[in-house]
Amino acid sequence: MHDEHAENVGAYALGALPALEAQLFEGHLAGCDSCRGELQRASQAAAALARSVVQFAPPPSLKESLMAAVEAEAASVAEPSRAARARKPARRSWLPRLRPAIALAAASAAVAFGAGTLLTQPAEPRTVAAAVDQGRLPDGTASLLIPEDEDRGAILRVQGLPDPGRGRIYQVWVQRGEEVVPVSIFDVDSKGSGAAAIPHSLDGVSAVMVTRERRGGATAPSEKPAITADV
């Protein structure tokens, strides 16, 4: 079992493990000194890759544009409504829609590098109550905790959920346009409580949903969402 996990060290350090595999590996890491040590070496080597590239000077216009945005935000701190507008960065049209298979990989990178801060630093969050299918989850409630900066993702919290059943697990999805993208899986404790991170930007996300899937997760929902939070 250890060897099976240790095999993932390099792929994890390079951000090349899909989300579900990365989560399983992180679970193993918590109790394995050997893998943590090897991962530290691999991560140091991976970090060096960033410093290996041919160096080019950025155009002056990039700094001008960046500092203009920063100065505007700094000046608008005293005016919350203006600050809220400024926090939405302009995005260029070269960023079309996510593809499900690619999104899994994107989630992996986010889990690998961002989930830790996400879970510990929600700044001035807002909470969105989620709709729960009372037929399937009669005692269930759920809410979505969204930090002020939606680029940092969100946290889904659930209570009163039944055990998903033998060999099954709850899986979180996000809807972007017409696409439904897998994000993470989670289990609930004996009281039916649980939480899951949505570790990437909510930009373009219209809803966060939960279904019950086979343990290990699915690439597409196998049932109607039991929980839906409109973002």
Binding site: E7, A48, V53, Q55, P89, P96
Partner: protein, 176 residues
Amino acid sequence: MESVQGGDSGAFETLYDRHGGAAYSLAYRIVGTRAAAEDATQEAFLSIWRSQKGYLAERGSVRNWILRIVRNRTIDSLRRSLVHDKRRASGDRIEETEPTPDRTDVEALRRDEARTIRTALEALPEQQMRVIELAYFGGFTHIEIAEMLDTPLGTVKGRMRLGLDKLHTELAEVVS
């Protein structure tokens, strides 16, 4: 760094002056066009400006932290843009035979370091170097790489693991 996290735009400008070039160069290496590299760099630095508490000194240098953010943001954008196949056909490239000249001793040292790391990377067995580059700079998962190279998943993972281990050994002084 504390001043940046406290909302000091002057400190942030200094941070950009120190690391903006490396960040832009990394983004350009990944996306292959000036416009996309500028977008990714700007998005990454804005996220740094807004993150307030993101940097933890015990987790490594400011430079590595910034470059990790740049890499993640750029790969994320790349995946959303689906330009893996098209990005290098846009005609929006910097002439790679003419990198910017060294202006300071620090920049000269960084260029030396970059050359050292590239040399170590290129000294790896080709198959190991290839999977590492596809994953790190291409943003591909091991599953996509396995399909691309028609190679078993376990072999791809093994090459990544071995390659990074050798790289660490070769670059012990650089990475420590």
